[in-house]
């Protein structure tokens, strides 16, 4: 390799935020046609570095070098012109706009001054076909699942023909199949000379696709390695600075009373299509009931209906012995529910509120946080300080707005709040989305500990590994129905995979068994 191969270089970049040194003399380079993975704990400074390369933040010091020439990027306009595209960790999509409008925004095609939506939709369909990314240009973004939104973001970058693409945790919300597709697309792109910076917390993915891996820790580069020279445990300890146990350790469950009973639930989505089509199941205290399934099979709406965020069309929901069908969120929460929502920024946090305030979002009006309608600030602060310590939330103080936290640390604020309350039932949708391996280890331990304290856990996750590692029983959802419920210790990846594809085990058993 010669120096000419380097298309983009960050040179000794330093960036301070109030109370945080987010990047401390960071240097990293990107070669033509390579996939350069960037790993690091939550809050290590990955997104900050990428935002600097993309022109959203100005570095305090250091240079950006593009094709051997030092350049100054004032705004995303400059970086787009320089051929840099970025898929942001938190989507930069406008919910009220259609997919086509979102994709063309900033790079519009017009015909005699009028937006040419048709031409754009056509181009989107072509790209979608060419790369096997399923997107409907006419759909409203606000009605799409997070996975679909992620695909829109990827198409948005492809649409602009970027030759340097930054992907900030694109796989956090993708299903394993979608991730595979993304990797295929990434390879397709690099074969054409596009260079990619790929951020993820999933070590397997890094080892599978990266040409080089740079690990960041606490704002600095901890080292750059080749996948061949390393393995998962080594990467994990490089990131976290200690050894990480990558498997979940737990005793067999001892389920007791029923804490959640769902009978013949039917729910409509935003387009009035029935996406939950007669679902019944129950969760007992002291067990983890996992719901597996390819995303978009109704899991989102199931969680929303159970927590009162979405009206139900039919059916019954009994929580801790109380009928909560059709009730709004507060009475449901008061029966003893904790909820980790799928979309942390939309349903989990008030981004402009401080970390401390977000940590009492469900119980600020109850003792000890309020007395006679007056907020007890010391209690709120005390609670925040304890949770920040226990859950290792990286924040300069309890008083900064949560919008200033890194993505993973925002997730930790929600998890800390929900796991620390005395509840009977926990509904967790993608609880470890976007968390680093160290934090996942801790949160998995906490969820198991909650189970052992007698809490019933409904775990919804697109990560088959997570479902299999934590659950005691596993239900598989397919097209709004539960295909089957199996015991976790009897389930295999293959058998679940078939159910997720809509093939019943009896059918497979029949097909597989030799006829007598």
């Amino acid at each position: 390799m010669t120096a000419n191969d380097i298309v983009l270089e960050a040179n000794e970049i330093t960036k301070h935020f109030p109370g945080v040194l987010a990047n401390d003399h960071v240097s990293i380079d990107l070669r033509k046609g390579e996939i350069h993975a960037l790993l690091g704990e939550n809050g290590a400074g990955k997104t900050t570095l990428m935002n600097i390369l993309y022109g959203l933040y100005k570095p305090d010091s250091g240079q950006v070098v593009l094709n051997g020439k030092s350049i100054v990027i004032h705004s995303p306009k400059d970086s787009i012109e320089a051929g840099i595209g970025m898929v942001h960790q938190h989507f930069m999509l406008i919910p009220a706009f259609s997919v086509a409008e979102n994709i063309m925004l900033g790079d519009e095609t017009t015909h005699a001054g009028v937006l040419d939506i048709k031409a754009v939709s056509q181009r989107v369909r072509e790209l979608s076909h060419q790369y096997g990314l399923e997107v409907d240009p006419d759909a409203k973004v606000g009605q799409l699942s997070v996975g679909a939104q992620q695909r829109v973001e990827i198409v948005k970058t492809l649409y602009r023909n970027a030759n340097i693409i930054i992907l900030d945790e694109p796989t956090a919300v993708l299903t394993p199949q979608e991730t595979e597709d993304l990797f295929r697309i990434m390879r397709q792109l690099t074969a054409r000379g596009v260079s990619i910076i790929f951020i993820t917390h999933k070590l397997k993915e890094v080892l599978a696709v990266a040409d080089r891996i740079t690990v960041m820790r606490a704002g600095r580069v901890a080292g750059t390695v080749k996948p061949k020279e390393t393995n998962e445990p080594k990467l994990a300890s490089m990131m976290v600075g200690r050894e990480v146990i990558l498997t979940v350790q737990k005793q067999p469950a001892r389920p007791k009373d029923e804490v959640l009973r769902v009978e013949d639930l039917r729910v409509l989505d935003d387009r009035d299509l029935e996406v939950i089509r007669g679902v019944s199941f129950d969760v007992r205290s002291g067990e983890i009931f996992g719901i597996a399934g390819v995303q978009g099979n109704g899991q989102t709406q199931l969680a929303e209906a159970l927590t009162g965020l979405r009206p139900m069309k039919n059916g019954k929901v009994i929580m801790a012995g109380k009928d909560v069908s059709g009730k709004p969120p507060r009475p449901i929460i008061e029966t003893g529910l904790a909820h980790i929502p799928e979309d942390r920024q939309r349903h989990g946090l008030v981004l402009s509120y401080s970390v401390a305030d977000n940590m009492v979002l469900c119980n600020y009006y109850l003792e000890p946080f309020a007395r006679g309608g007056v907020l007890q600030q010391e209690k709120v602060d005390e609670n925040a300080r304890r949770l920040i310590r226990d859950f290792d939330v990286r924040t300069p103080s309890p008083y900064v707005p949560t919008s200033k936290l890194s993505g993973g640390n925002q997730q930790k604020v929600i998890v800390a709040r929900e796991l620390s309350r005395p509840v009977k039932l926990l509904i967790a949708s993608q609880p470890t989305r976007g968390l680093d391996v160290g934090s996942i280890e801790y949160i998995h331990k906490e969820i198991v500990a909650m189970r052992d304290r007698g809490v019933g856990v409904l775990l919804i996750s697109a990560e088959l590994d997570e479902i299999m590692a934590l659950s005691d029983r596993i239900a598989v959802m397919y097209q709004g129905q539960i295909m089957d419920v199996v015991k976790a210790n009897e389930a295999t990846k293959e058998s679940l995979g078939l159910l997720m594809a809509g093939i019943k085990s009896s059918e497979t058993a029949e097909a597989a068994a030799p006829r007598p």
């Binding site: 959203l56 933040y57 705004s75 942001h88 930069m92 009220a96 925004l105 937006l115």
Partner: protein, 356 residues
């Protein structure tokens, strides 16, 4: 707004007109009553429509503007003053003076808007406060100058209010205006006609052009707009100023089209009603226009009920009470619009300062 709601609103307007027709039928022919009510409706709706369009540009770009009232008042005064200066001091004929007046009004609106933009976008002052500043400032300046220039001892015009150059002439829309009786509806003054054209233009700009797409993006999710290379600050500035121009034109209506004089606080809350029309219309030009027309029709109802007071049958004696009738436009508008329009959704980032 869907067609069903539109039909209900149209029906209500028909009922309002019908009531007056029934009451006044012994004195005037229905056609005459209806055309005169329609003319009133359009006239009353003109400044409201322009004010609402002004608000739409600002708020679609994410800047709340409650200073429209002040912008219209300021524009009404300075537009009028410019026309008088042109006419009485520089001795230009009426028409050019009026045109200069309208231009001056538009520029005044733009300058007030620039102030609002500087306060709320650059200095990140709370947008409600920025708007309030403009309202107070406009009331103060116009009241003060009006007194000093026209009434004070040693004032420029020596206590004599000069004969203004009159009002903008009516334009006959060819063919349509020639229809007997109903043709009267198509005889309108230029600002009223512009208001209607601007509704159509604004709809087109907002929903069909690049400018509109970017404007809405900046008002919905400024950060997302920023990441695709759109200059959020610039878009917001421009739209607030465009809004100011429209409010300025709305102000010109009061002193250069409706009547040819200025009174202190003569906009009399119309800027706020325009904002209500914008909200009722769900931040869309046609929606806002409909709301403005509903208010105009209710106003026409009020005027005509007072006119036909003697003829109101005893069963409807409440309608003879001038307080009840005076409240009618406001009550009716509120009831109709809240009941029928239902929930409205403002732009997601409306009123929020953009910080990187």
């Amino acid at each position: 707004m869907d067609w069903r709601r539109f039909a209900i609103i149209a029906l209500i307007i028909v009922v309002m007109f019908g009531t007056v027709v029934l009451i006044g039928t012994s004195q005037n022919s229905p056609l005459v009553i209806i055309t005169s009510m329609m003319a009133t409706t359009i006239a009353v709706a003109t400044p409201l429509t322009l004010g609402a369009l002004s608000g739409i540009y600002c708020e679609r770009a994410g800047v709340v503007n409650i200073g429209i009232e002040g912008m219209m008042l300021g524009a009404a005064f300075f537009g009028w003053l410019a026309a008088i200066y042109m006419n009485t001091i520089f001795h230009y004929p009426a028409m050019p003076s009026l045109i200069v007046g309208v231009i001056a009004a538009i520029i005044t609106g733009g300058l007030f808007a620039l102030l609002h933009a500087v306060l709320s976008i650059t200095f990140k002052v709370d947008q409600i406060i920025g708007g309030t500043v403009i309202n107070i400032l406009a009331a103060g300046i116009t009241g003060f100058l009006n007194r000093q220039l026209f009434f004070g001892a040693g004032s420029v015009f020596h206590g004599q209010i000069p004969n203004a150059p009159g009002v903008l002439p009516t334009i006959h829309i060819p063919l349509l205006a020639d229809i007997p009786t109903v043709g009267r509806i198509f005889e309108q003054q230029p600002i009223a006609i512009s208001a209607i054209l601007l509704v159509i233009i604004t709809h087109f700009v907002l929903f069909r052009t690049r400018w509109g797409l970017r404007t809405r993006a900046v008002g919905e999710h400024p950060r997302a707009a920023d990441t695709v290379g759109i200059n959020v600050i610039r878009m917001r500035y421009m739209n607030v100023i465009i809004g100011g121009f429209l409010a300025g034109l709305g102000g010109a209506y009061f002193t250069l089209e409706a009547i040819s004089s200025f009174e202190a606080n003569m906009t009399n809350g119309r800027g706020f009603i325009a904002l209500a029309a914008m909200i009722f219309g769900n931040w869309t030009p046609f929606g806002a226009w409909t709301a403005a027309l509903v208010f105009g029709a209710a106003q026409a109802l009020q005027i005509n009920l007072q006119f036909f007071r003697e003829l109101i049958p005893p069963q409807l004696a409440v309608l003879q009470n001038s307080y009840v009738v005076g409240l009618a436009p406001y009550l009716l508008t509120m009831l109709i619009l809240t009941g029928i329009i239902g929930k409205t959704i403002p732009p997601a980032a409306d009123g929020k300062v953009y910080e990187k």
